[in-house]
Amino acid sequence: MRWFAIKSLRAFVTLWLVVTFVFFVLRLSGDPTMILLPDDTDAATRSFYRALWGLDRPIWDQYLRYVAGLMQGDFGISFRNNMDAFQLVRDRVPKTALLGWTALSIALVLGIPLGILAALYRDSWIDRVVMGLAVFGFSMPNFFLGILLILIFSLQLRWLPSSGSDTWWHLIMPAFTLGTGFAAQIARYTRSSMIDVLAKPYMRTARSTGAGPARRVISHALPNAAVPVVTILGFQIGQLLGWAVVTETVFAWPGIGRLLTTAVATRDLAVVQCIMILLAITMIAANMFVDFLYGWLDPRVRVGAGARTA
């Protein structure tokens, strides 16, 4: 419980730092009225909008008002269409969550077994093929892979729709585009971690006790090899939104990534801030989840169970 309290406090401080940083950087990046309003807008109209959005106040005043609003669950108003920023973002969350989880599942389902296979058949042709694919998958930029898939499966074969999110068919290509890079990373980490563990004396103990290959891998090698893979998983959940921006743009997937690109381009401050906060919360939650998994996977880092040595 104490552990959880400390973690929560830290998470809260991190979140506050993110909010503050994003707030000031965005406001230093120029006057939103210059971008949002037509070029020939006269000065009086401009100052009207500045006053309306509170941009004429001192920056400290703006900041305190913003933070006070956040405390009450008010994320501000979108400059572009006068809608509640939180509402705008919330409407997009399910689509990105669907894309992200599908991509992550693909990454896990492909990456972990391939990594195990490469480790078990180390230096054989299986290992070389898997690692070759991993290098390919990791080094291929998302936008390129996305366009390549569209060329093959939409334009040539006409199997899959190239854009939109109306059916499950629409999900396939974006999810693979986003998942491939993650799968490659996971495969590499799984492989190297498995190779380490397979050389451990307890693997020999298991074999000399008569444990079959499946039992050795599933109940000894994999759980011990999982720790580094879980670390990577934590990073990936954080990266997911960043990579989703490109993927969502390529496939016209109406998620947070696309909302973010338009919001940044138009200096829609409230929306950008709201997305950044969401991103920070995702990162923090992913990290806490990873810490929790560590404890579950490795009794040596388990909290509460103090080191007893006799």
Binding site: K200, P201, Y202, R204, T205, A206, R207, S208, T209, G210, A211, G212, P213, R215, S219, H220, P223, N224, L297, D298, P299, R300, A305, A307, R308, T309, A310
Partner: protein, 319 residues
Amino acid sequence: MTALLRATGLRKSYATGRAGLFRPSARFNAVDGVTLHIKPGETLGVVGESGCGKSTLSRLVLGLAQADAGEILFDGAPLPRADTDDWRRMRIRMQLVHQNAAGALDPRLPVRAQVEEALRIHKRAPERAARALSDVGLPPAMAARYPHEMSGGQLQRVVIARALALDPDLLVLDEPVSALDVSIQAQIVNLIRDLQAARGLAYLFVSHDVAVVRHVADRIAVMYLGRVVEEGPTAAFRTGALHPYTRALLDAVPVPDPGCRGGAVPRIGDPPNPAAPPPGCRFHPRCPFAVHRCRAEPPVLREFAARHHAACHRIEEIA
């Protein structure tokens, strides 16, 4: 009495370095023509310096590694091929305890679960784990502990419990006490002896420490660079070792008596590279008695007293 284990002419070589395009990789014989047997309920001690092939020998005997040449009969039948079902069933009858007890246990599982696993693999009642742990002198409260919560001596007890839970006929102990403090060593050695007295199982006890081996073994085989140079009943090693190498090993054992300090122990230096063993008798570069014949002609094991063999050309002259 028929032997529980009989190994004849065992040979195992390993590659050193990578093979070149036109050059096969160099190989060295870790075990080079070893013959031994163990009777039921008996302890055969194997002594030698590091690199002499002791650990390879224990792996061969258990069928964990495949010998290049030679034959192993366990209870009259050849060992099944590694990792086959027959081979796995054979694990019930022969078990391994090795030096690194901390590494030999899965860090993720409580020790009781690890003993239970051995039983589950062979469809034995997992409840026997508790009994196995108490047999090796661990209090029941320790069963729930993780390996990192236990000391080296306790861990070695767990490893022994795991091996003994299956009720094997043969236990191969590869340097079981080398990683432990001297006081703990004595506890574990005595435990190993008591378990044998209670259960009548046979041991292959491998160690570099002559004093420990002399304490536990019924018979001793001395290995030097992959070969057995002397073999005989333990009593024979107390009264008169034959081979110059064995004598050097025995002279190097410290005597716990302050009145008897600093005898003239012959210093024989480090062993040669096992990858390039010297011709003739492999011990000749370090042997104080070496003559021309030793450099040219490898000696064979000859019987000098009842069941006491040694491989040396000059035993008659130097005895």
